[in-house]
Symmetry: C2
Subunit: 473 residues, 2 copies
């Protein structure tokens, strides 16, 4: 190895080590059509970099099953922990590239949002595009197929069969975002070396930024640095104060209504299963608002195969080492199934905000991140029902006292519950802000007066039945 190559390698290894020390993920996309020489670049990178904690992710094989979940699910699953790295072969550009190869100009809003989120999380995201004229790519593919004596993959067929205007669409694809590093696919060796040098430079820049504190949000509560960090106005609305109390406390009538809705809901869930529609129920609300009781009524009449309940408590260390939404992505239901979140991603703008577990810019950014996340769900056809169970402070106090007195409810009352109660007003403000920023036509909030438990259960079942009916009609 030449002296400058040695130096380069040493710098890269040092860069990796320092990224690890600073808990930054390294995320590299190697983009390009089949036959552009991406493998040569990847092999050079894995050869020279420290491969512990560096994974290569490649899909697009004919036998790779659809994720049965929103498109970005598999990319979220593949995200490295902070401090580790991942090389993506096209990654989330695989689908836009397929479109371009069919002669369509793709929209890259989702891709851009995803990268913004990763960068906001402190990751170094680096994108290389290996450009090669299509005729040359085709020659290489034919040669490769002949050598390996195998039929072409769908991604190879796409290049072989691409129309004349595909080249222009690929140019458009890589032109939209402006942060691609272009490599010459006709000279694979030079391309690999160029990529390494870009990587070294990017690492240095990233580390320098971090050292100057510009990236370090975990400590400082700094100002906005991306389009996401725009300040959201605090809410002046008071939707919870305006919520009418339970309209009925007629026990026999509510019990009958509940039973009817349960039967209806059970049928709808089977219909959703047959139609391959996933569903999500988000349950938020005050301590002792009756979430557990609601969940038992929702699931009580339903086949156990059709749903999964996810109580959301403190994240595990694996979850802490990923962007905060990762632990919700990994719990998304498959098509035809339902997930019930007993507390949810809204903890980011509720408890994490109030208890200062997230910095101001982190929880402010979360409103947009949640909007992106939920629109990925609803665009995929997920039936999304978000419920806030609301009770008056007095109701909560009575329920806490009842819990303290009832032996089999003892375990449900903790010191934390009393502490949270003292911060009622802070949580109220956070909740109002949350409704203002995350109540959208495709993902509306259902606010339920839960001072009467039976009334509340009927309301939640009713919201579910209506949402599923709409979705399946």
């Amino acid at each position: 190895m030449s002296k400058s190559a040695d130096r380069l390698r040493l710098d890269l290894l040092q860069g990796q080590r320092r990224l690890r020390e600073q808990s930054s993920a390294l995320i590299v996309v190697i983009g390009g059509v089949e036959g552009a020489g991406r493998h040569a670049v990847i092999n050079t990178l894995t050869h020279l970099l420290d491969t512990r904690g560096l994974r290569v992710h490649a899909w697009t094989l004919d036998d790779a099953p659809g994720p049965d979940r929103p498109r970005f699910w598999r990319y979220w699953q593949a995200l490295p922990s902070r401090g580790d790295g991942a090389l993506f072969l096209n990654g989330w550009y695989a689908e836009p590239l397929t479109q371009a190869l069919r002669g369509a100009t793709p929209d890259l809003a989702r891709e851009t949002d995803f990268e913004t989120l990763l960068r906001d999380d402190g990751a170094l995201v680096l994108k290389f595009w290996l450009g090669v004229p299509l005729p040359q790519a085709r020659r290489r593919i034919r040669q490769r197929l002949q050598q390996a004596q195998r039929p072409p993959l769908p991604s190879e067929l796409a290049v072989l069969a691409a129309p004349d205007d595909a080249e222009a669409c690929i140019d458009a694809l890589t032109g939209i975002q402006g942060d691609w590093h272009f490599l010459d696919g006709c000279q694979p060796k030079d391309a690999a070396t160029a990529a390494l040098k870009v990587l070294r430079h990017a690492m240095e820049e990233h580390l320098a930024m971090d050292e100057h504190g510009a990236m370090d949000e975990h400590l400082a509560d700094d100002g906005p640095k991306t389009r996401r960090a725009r300040r959201h106005q605090s809410s002046t609305e008071a939707r919870l104060a305006a919520l009418p109390p339970p309209a009925s406390t007629d026990k026999p009538a509510l019990i009958a209504q509940l039973a009817e809705l349960q039967t209806e809901f059970s049928k709808l869930l089977w219909a959703a299963q047959a139609a391959g529609r996933a569903g999500i129920l988000v349950l938020e609300g005050w301590d002792a608002a009756g979430k557990g009781g609601v969940i038992r009524r929702v699931t009580g009449a339903v086949d156990a195969r059709l749903f999964q309940v996810h109580p959301i408590a403190a994240p595990s260390d694996e979850e802490r080492a990923h962007p905060w939404l990762w632990r919700f992505w990994r719990r998304l239901p498959r098509r035809g199934r339902m997930a019930i979140f007993d507390r949810s991603w809204y903890g980011r703008v509720l408890v994490e905000r109030v208890e200062k577990l997230a910095s101001r810019s982190q929880w402010q950014r979360a409103y947009d991140e949640i909007a992106d996340f939920e629109s990925q769900l609803t665009e995929e056809g997920v039936v999304l029902v978000k419920v806030w169970l609301h009770i008056q402070p007095q109701t909560q106090l009575e329920r806490f006292q009842a819990r303290a007195k009832t032996p089999h409810k003892h375990h449900k009352l903790t010191d934390e519950d009393w502490r949270n109660r003292e911060r009622w007003d802070d949580y109220l403000a956070a909740a109002e802000d949350m409704f203002q920023h995350t109540d959208r036509p495709q993902a509306p909030w259902t606010l339920v007066a839960a001072d009467d438990k039976r009334w509340a259960r009927v309301q939640v079942l009713d919201a579910l039945v209506q949402a599923y009916r709409r979705a399946l009609s």
Copy 2:
């Protein structure tokens, strides 16, 4: 609720809490054919138990995809953390039950082994069988289908179409193991109450055992308590001492050979992809034996989509909270893909034994647990290649010194490497025992003299090529 029902509930909640405190998982199987009333029992259980940390797992829906991995993979994925609980609707008895419904008597060795492993890990495993005559099950299924206005599931069809002798086969299935609690499916309410009482009793017994220390292997190094814990004789063989040194150090010849094998291996991996065969390379050996270099040569010529490298270091907290093999199950490759384990499950009988991270009975048991695990892989058609890279102590010393001197290899040398070196003889004894107990015809060890790196790389590639050739012929 009656007074005794209140008492029962309180006892169950206390039992759950104490199981959590003692880090025991609660694993309940509710078995029975479709129409036996399993859902009524599950609903009663989830209604009365604390559902935080208690998940219900049910498959057998028509749209549930095959796991594309060995059969038990999905059950491993679904295992609760220690201290949490899971209810399985048939669980790993789904497949044996399907067989019985076809009139065949299933063998339950795998199922028994799995439960032994869970119990050895401190779990309370409880199995209920809901018995109901097939004609009554059929009546219930028909009624249910009519109510829900849906076509029958495959599992329902199996009951509707079962031959006359199926009933006897089901009896045989539940008779083999002797640890089923039988419930009367004709009386679902009584069955549920009976299940709760059995659960209470089992919890008390389990907790009492634990308190008397009989279960507590994490602290004490107690004697064998299951068939797995039989003492394995220490090896008197010296396979490593008898290993001939590298037969050639002819650099140009080895380089040429390697290139040839790489080409061949790349073709074989594509063929395995087409045939849907998964592969696993396990790499063990001394520090500085050259594992990293081997991996780069194995992967260097191969399409990045076809494999994944898993460096095995300390487990995460999620991994620590599960039976020790869990972290390897979760990394198993899909059909048509390959996984390379840079260190592996053999750490249990190497580093964990030598450094006393596992108790004697734990690592002794591991020989059988590994045998079970690997035979599940090979029976599923996984191409399993296990390699030990062997070097002489002198070679290691030279390589350590070279690493200390070479700037870009600095990071590969840690204090731990020097410490491990001091325990060479302990590791040697552990390795010899490992070969003796885990070298089986279906999962043989390949011992490679790695004092010459090029020779070693050729040997590993050769072992892979041969194994894949055999598998695909």
